[in-house]
Structures are given as C-alpha cells and as structure tokens.
Symmetry: C2
C-alpha cells in the first residue's frame, strides 16, 4: 500500500514540473526579511546569492541538483531548481571553490557546520506545523558527564500541561540526530515539538518527554585526532566514530538517563523508555538499546539501524548480531514492545538496500517489527518527520497495540 | 575608578602584543572538531578559510581588523590578528565580493544573518562560564500573539530549583538583544544563563526568571517593504523600525507578559518586573518601560538607551522626553527602583557620546541612576556580559539597596 502511495506522489510531482506556475515566495526557512531563497507552488526553488567578483558560483543541494549558477548584471548569481520533493533540503553554495552557507537561510547544523536549507511545503501536510493546539516547551539543559568530563547540552521536549499537572509522570523517548548534526536537529529541522503537540492534541498519542542529546561524545582525556583529509569510511574516521559511539553509549546510560530521571517527572523503567534515531542515530539506537534491554523496550531506526561497524557493511544476522539479543524471536517479542525501522523510497541505493535487507532478515528470522517506507523522500528530514509521526503514536500504548495504531495518515 | 581599570587593561593588552607567544588553540566558539579559528594566550586570532579558486579573500571583524587574507599553496587563506580585547567578536569573510560565514565557527545570529564569531577568553574572568554550581534551564516557548497574528518564539531562563520548589514565585527580567540579532543572542552570545547561575550560586543575586523575546515584531497584516539598498538611517529603514518598535511594545505588554505570567510562577506586579536590553534593545527598554511604568520598576540600557527616533539623535531632555516620565526626579526615584545605563570605553564615539550625554543629562536633572563603563570593550558582547553581571545583582533587592550592592568585581 505504502509503495502505491509513493508512486502516485511521484507522478504528481512530475506533473507539477510541466506547470511551473512561477508564483515564487520567500521560503519559511529564511531569516527575517530575507527575500531569497524562494519557493513556488510547483515546489521549485530559486536561489539568489551576492558574489560580485566571483568567477564561478555553484549550487550544491546535498540530496539534489549540483550546478553552475548564473551571473546577473547586479552582482547576484541565480539558480532555479526543478520541482523538489517536499521537506527541508540542505544546500551550500560554492564560491570560487569556497563552500559556504547562504546568508538568507536559517542556519541548520548539518554536515558538521551551520549549513543552509530551504523548506519546500508538502501540499496537505500540516502535522509538523505549529497549530492552534496546546504547545509543549523545549528546554535546554546542561548536565555534567563523568564519562566525558564536560558539561553537555541537551534539549528536552515536555508535553503541554507538564507544568500544570505536577502529579503526572511521563514516559521518555530518547531521540537522536544523524551524522554531522547535533542535538538541535530534531527541533530546528525536524519540528519534533510541533509533531508531538499535534499528535498529543489529536488524542491518539501519549503525552511523553523527548530527550535530544548530542550524539558526539569523547571520553575524558581522549584527544580527537585531526581528521582533515580522512573521509567517512577511512580507518581513521571509523576508529574515531567507534570510540565516540562507545563513549556516547556510556554517557547516555551512565550520565544522561540518571540526570533526566532526577530532573524530570519520568517513569524511570524500561516499559516507559524508548529510543530512536536517524541515520547515525539509528545505529546508535540499535547499539545502545540492544546492549541495554534492561533500560529500553521501544526501539526505532530511521534510515539507519544495523550498525556497519558491528556487523560489516550493514550485514545483519538475527542469530548472532548484537550479542544475540534477537536470537529468540518469541522472547524478544515479549521483551521489546516495538521494533520499528523506516526508510525513504528515494534514498540512495546503499541506504535503501541496508534497511530492506535488515527488514528481510528480521522477517526471515521471525522477529516482529514494523517496516515503514516514506514515499518519494530521500535521506532527508521529511522522511524522518514522517517516521516520528508514525512511530510516536505507537509508543507507551497498552502492550500488543503498537502495531495496530492507525492515526489516519 | 572604572576608567583607571580600563587604562590598566588596555596597557596589558599592548604589552601582550610584544610577547606573541603563538600557542594557538582552537577557539571555544568553534563547531565540534573544527581546528580553526584559533586563539593564542596573547589574544591573537588565526583565521583559516578554504577558497582554492578565489582571487581575493578578506577578513572582516565587525568591530576590528578588516584586511586581505593571505593565500597558501594548499588552497586555504590565512590571517592572524593583533591582540584582541576579550569577548566574542563577530566576523565574516569576503570571498571575491561574497560576504559569508566561516564554517569552522558556531553560527551566532547577528547582522540579520547567522554569522561567525570567535571567543577570546578574558584572563581571570569566569563569571560567564559553566561552573560546578546548580544550573538553571533555558526553555523555548511559543506564544500566539494577537498583535502580530503569529506564533512567536521566546527563550526563558528559569533559575535552579524552579522545578523543585513548586511553591516559590519569582520576579522577572525581560532582556532584549540588539539590532540584527534575535532572541537567541543573550544565551548563545551572552551566556546569560551561566552568568545568572554563577551569580545566584554566589548568594548575592535573587533567583529570577529571564525572558528573552524576539525584538522584531510586525502587526498582523503589515507587509514589510523590501529594504534592499535602504541602509540604517534612511527614511524607509527608520519607518520600518518605528513601526516595529511600536508593534513590539504592544506585543510585549499585551501578549508576552500575560503569557509569561500565565505560564510561569511569576510575581506579576511592577515591583517584581525589570526590563533591560542592549543597543536597539536598550532603546526598546526605555520606550516600553517609560510608556508602562505601571508594569516595570527596574530599567537597564546597555550601550543604547535614549531613543533617537523619539528624541532626535540621542538628545534627551529630562523634562520632556518620554512624555515627561522623568520630569519629577523625586517622584521618579520613588517609583523606579533602578535606572541603570552602561557603555564600553572602546565603543564607537557616537555610542559613547550618546550614553555619556544621557548620563550627564540625568545627573543635571537630578535623576538617580547608575552609570557603568566597561573598561576596554567595544560595542560587543563582552560589554553586555559585564553589564548583566553588574545589573542583575541589583534587581529585586530591598528598596534603596540597589546602588549599594557590590559583588566583588
């Protein structure tokens, strides 16, 4: 069924291409008063960037077009994209070889820097927009971690009425960003707070606390080597990533969770604790939760789940991976209330194959789980917004009902 | 006394110049893993920026050096500053005419865009750093404003123990950013939360709530004209600013304050409500508080106070300005518990003159107030961190003790 929807949406996008209405308006992701980027009702994006003395200026959509921009007589360079999928698209501009952000865009932390992005609205979808419903608060907290030896910053979403209902305790979802992003991603890019506000207001999602930590951690005393010229996948990069994954796991279980349970009115047991993450955050989720099934009972991997560092290029074996945590499907189903994995149908082949093969392995191994495909979206935030919108209503429901929750999307 | 300290500090900075130890380390304001910018113990800053095909790359410290950077054989451009004053210095890089941010820097909202900045430590000063003291939380809130017809975003600092002591109510300081900045400035750039954590822990500052709103507001239906090519000071720019000042005043008094008093455990009266702001935020503070002395009794203007739009080029007349709110000094002193203005000794002449002439006018008019000079700092955040550190301990103290508070700095 999901696949059918996907094809219809993709066809609609193609039809739009032919129309090209040209009613361009400043994007909702722009900074105050910035006239560009603009988006039209055909989901085309216009970029305009001032570089009067440059020889060559290129647009670089990370999951989209990469092309030369056109120089205008007024010193600005312009580019208009084809129709884009809905969602938030990261981009940078390359000015005579310098890869920089667009000053017209809000800065979103991605690619290990404060990058640009443009929001392309999704027709008919308002589940991630602020609406006239009670709003939760997002809190910034600082906790001292004995693992890293530093003060660490995290964001915490508290549901509406958390302050008013001082006797109520809440379940907690730990929700992680992707590689090159940070703890701000799920709020700034993902709109997780508005998604939860709207879900809770609709009555089918339990009010919950969401904790968003920084997924990069280094043990006290560990000196991160300079990774200049060491790309993703190189042994040096992988070693740093493994070291950080392990430090993050300890920071989360030894410092963050105790801090959250002490600071907020949580229900501090495994039945009321979930973890999910996107891409790198999904890998972290699998590592942390399968190592600590005493702490978690709901697990979500968004466009990233099986850990290539543990299992070799996303190869996953139900019997042996994660210390055999899934080896006995019946015991696993009793213990883990929800195992949820998802991927966008337009994600790069490597990502799709990884998740699909995980899905197949789980099916073949008899491990109950949900496999969700986001139609027409890439390895980008619209996929992960949809993931959260499908995942969150399934959490902390009466046991056995997680897979039957249908919130009408 | 302040002036003397200022001179000593400036001399020290000059002496450091001669030493130039060259022990450069990545700045604390860098993004994770970024090796540049770097700062050495002589407060010199090294910038390194990749632009392999550029013809000309310039460094642009907004309150500092503006110069050509030097091309290196590896495609990077480098520049080393002279010794800089302590604090957070905004800068941009100009690549063949394109003014852009440095991807190595955290993005700070300034100059109406997400700009770069480098933190130069102040020897011996740790009042704005996170320490082993109880930490307050910073909350993000969204409130619907009937004035603007939109959801508006604000940050709220709550003191340590706010959650635990559910019977305690707190006084509130409304604290505004400067022109071209937004509601994130006082936390990201200003470190207001750490300043308050440390002041409260020291025992001489009342635990208080700080509300940081976005100083830009437009009435529902108002269409902001395109200000391209209309600089600060032009009639078009001024008209928009006046319209926004007025919309902000109504938003603050009609939407924000009622929302805050409804949402948090405040003491909702004028004796427990303060307002302060920097630069444009100082002008807004004077306008809002003098129009609403029924709402506020503590007033702070940091490097900006007398409103040039109301009084003509910062000319201020005690008898007539602000509808005569200060015309009767005795009545004013009874009603307003603290009037505090401050300026950095290295600020541009226009700023200094404005504040000094306001100080003189207030003195001559017999209006009780505090005039604080931050030694050796410019129209930058180190001045405003010091301002807050001096201002906050004077708030909400027993009447008449505001000017006698001495917190050992």
């Amino acid at each position: 069924m999901m696949r059918t929807i996907g094809i219809v949406m993709l066809l609609s996008a193609s039809l739009c291409l032919a129309q090209g209405s040209g009613d361009f308006k400043p994007a909702s992701s722009n900074v105050l008063d910035a006239q560009f980027p603009q988006v039209d009702s055909s989901s085309r994006v216009q970029i305009r960037f001032r570089a009067p003395d440059a020889t060559k200026v290129r647009i670089n959509f990370w999951s989209g077009e990469k092309a030369d921009m056109e120089k205008q007589p007024d010193g600005f360079w312009t580019f208009t994209t084809k129709s884009m999928a809905p969602g938030l698209h990261y981009y940078t501009i390359v000015v005579d070889g310098a890869e920089v952000s667009d000053p017209g865009s809000t800065a979103y932390f991605g690619g290990s820097k404060w990058a640009s992005a443009v929001e392309v609205p999704e027709a008919g979808a308002d589940y991630y927009l602020p609406k006239e419903v009670p709003h939760g608060q997002v809190r910034e907290v600082w906790y001292h971690s004995s693992v890293t030896g530093t003060w660490r910053h995290a964001l915490v979403y508290l549901p509406p009425d958390y302050d008013a209902q001082t006797k109520t305790r809440c379940a907690v979802l730990y929700l992680q960003h992707g590689g090159g992003e940070n703890e701000t991603g799920w709020i700034r890019q993902g709109k997780a707070n508005f998604i939860l506000d709207n879900l809770i207001a609709s009555g089918n999602t339990k009010p919950m606390i969401i904790v968003m930590a920084n997924g990069y951690a280094s043990r006290a005393g560990y000196v991160v080597p300079d990774l200049t010229g060491k790309p993703f996948g190189s042994p040096e990069f992988t070693k740093v990533m493994q070291e950080r994954m392990s430090a993050f796991e300890d920071d989360m279980t030894q410092a963050l969770i105790p801090f959250i349970d002490k600071t907020f009115r949580t229900i501090p047991d495994r039945d009321h604790r979930a973890m999910a993450g996107l891409s790198m955050g999904g890998m972290q989720t699998f590592q942390v939760t399968f190592d600590h099934l005493d702490l978690f009972s709901y697990i979500g991997g968004f466009s990233g789940a099986g850990n290539p560092f543990l299992a070799g290029n996303n190869k996953f074996d139900v019997k042996t991976s994660y210390h055999g945590a899934l080896a006995d499907p019946a015991a696993f189903a009793k213990r883990v209330h929800l195992l949820w994995i998802g991927v966008g149908t337009n994600e790069p082949e490597r990502m799709k194959t990884g998740l699909e093969s995980l899905h197949t392995s789980l099916d073949e191994g008899g491990v109950q789980h949900i496999f969700y495909e986001s139609p027409g979206t890439d390895h980008e935030w619209q996929t992960w917004r949809r993931d959260l919108n499908d995942f969150a209503p399934r959490l902390f429901q009466p046991v056995g009902q997680q897979s039957r929750v249908d919130h009408g999307r």
